[in-house]
């Protein structure tokens, strides 16, 4: 299974700034390995962010997003102790969900 994400969610006023790091190779499908063989494309395609269980953002990514992707967004109407969930799904069907509490 994929390694855990790091999610930091900090509340200021009624908004939470959410920063997410995801562990993923984000292979473009154009790189070659040591033996000259093409490394198949392997990248996160869909990202979903939830706030106390409700979906607040869906994003679609291509292989142009950097390895070990970073995402930052601002969730409205948030307070300390809220739950921020992040789920990603890659083009090979791999997926990972993590959750953090806002502070």
């Amino acid at each position: 299974m994929a390694d855990p994400m790091r999610i930091r969610a900090q509340v200021a006023g009624d908004k939470a700034t959410v920063r997410v790091l995801m562990a993923h190779d984000m292979e473009t499908g154009t790189r070659k390995d040591g033996a000259g063989k093409i490394i198949p494309a392997w990248f996160i395609q869909e990202v979903t962010v939830t706030h106390n269980g409700k979906t607040v953002l869906t994003a679609e990514w291509g292989p142009g997003v950097s390895k070990n992707p970073f995402l930052q967004l601002v969730v409205k109407g948030a307070k300390i102790g809220d739950k921020i969930g992040v789920t990603w799904k890659d083009n090979k069907g791999g997926t990972r969900s993590d959750e953090a509490t806002t502070s």
């Binding site: 855990p4 994400m5 995801m22 562990a23 950097s66 070990n68 970073f70």
Partner: protein, 267 residues
């Protein structure tokens, strides 16, 4: 100095004010880029993984590493990184963080240290050593390097490391000193820290392990030295070999007083 002769043969007029100014703004632009990346360092991902591995029962002996002695007694993680490499009485060797982690993985968990040392970077248990190193180094963030030099072996390794630092060889006659003996030098756009004295907080020895944005890998000092030697056109230094540890002692002792910011983010 003999250098000055060669220098004087090559006129310096091209360092005219206009190009120097343009250069400065380019450097500022690069600084901006680096600042943009500082928040959200993927090294965090490795740290989290390493902390999990430290506590997880693994290996043939199904044990965690929580009893590992990294220099300040079994289980102490905080503040050990800034005193490594150091001499260990049980192995009767000077060891750096990676070398010592191998010892603990062998004695506590039953892994074969020599096998792991032979495993290429980025494969199998090597990945776990890297993650553990990220975790251990992070536990000394903000602390100043202060390698012990009381034991004779530690002093000897410093002297050996110094000789390795100045060793010119290979197809390009390079030594570590070719790039790292003076201040304010650059290779391409990369600042080169002077490593014969403390280059400053979070610079040089005090900046590794680091996440490399160019390849998305976390590099420990072992991997940093390995790739320096590759670019230096030297043959391959064994993982946790005495040469790499001695060089670590030389760089670490020179960095005395530098604040560790590891794991950092680098080009």
């Amino acid at each position: 100095m003999r250098m000055t002769k060669a220098l004087s043969m090559i006129a310096l007029a091209c360092l005219a004010s206009t190009s120097a100014w343009a250069q400065k703004t380019d450097i500022q632009k690069i600084e901006e880029y680096r600042a943009m990346l500082a928040d959200g360092n993927p090294a965090d991902l490795f740290e989290a993984k390493g902390e999990g591995l430290w506590k997880q029962k693994r290996g043939p002996k199904n044990a965690s590493l929580e009893q590992c002695d990294l220099g300040k007694g079994p289980g102490v993680v905080k503040g050990v990184f800034i005193e490594l490499p150091r001499y260990f009485a049980d192995t009767k060797r000077v060891q750096d963080m990676e070398s010592r982690l191998l010892t603990c993985m062998e004695t506590l968990q039953g892994f074969n240290a020599a096998e792991i040392a032979k495993t290429p970077f980025g494969k199998g248990e090597q990945n776990n050593v890297t993650a553990l190193a990220a975790f251990i180094s992070a536990e000394s963030k903000g602390m100043k390097f202060n390698l012990p030099q009381a034991h004779q072996e530690e002093k000897t390794f410093y002297e050996v490391g110094k000789r390795l630092f100045f060793q010119r060889a290979g197809s390009h006659d390079f030594s570590c000193a070719s790039c790292h003996k003076d201040e304010k030098l650059r290779i391409r756009l990369q600042d080169l820290p002077k490593l014969t004295s403390n280059p400053g907080d979070g610079i040089g020895f005090a900046a590794w392990p680091a996440y490399r944005v160019s390849n998305g890998q976390l590099w420990t000092m072992q991997l940093r030295l390995n790739d320096c030697y590759r670019q230096q056109r030297f043959p391959y230094p064994g993982f946790a070999s005495d040469a790499t540890v001695a060089l670590g002692v030389y760089l670490g002792v020179n960095a005395k007083g530098a604040v560790s910011t590891a794991p950092t983010i680098k080009r």
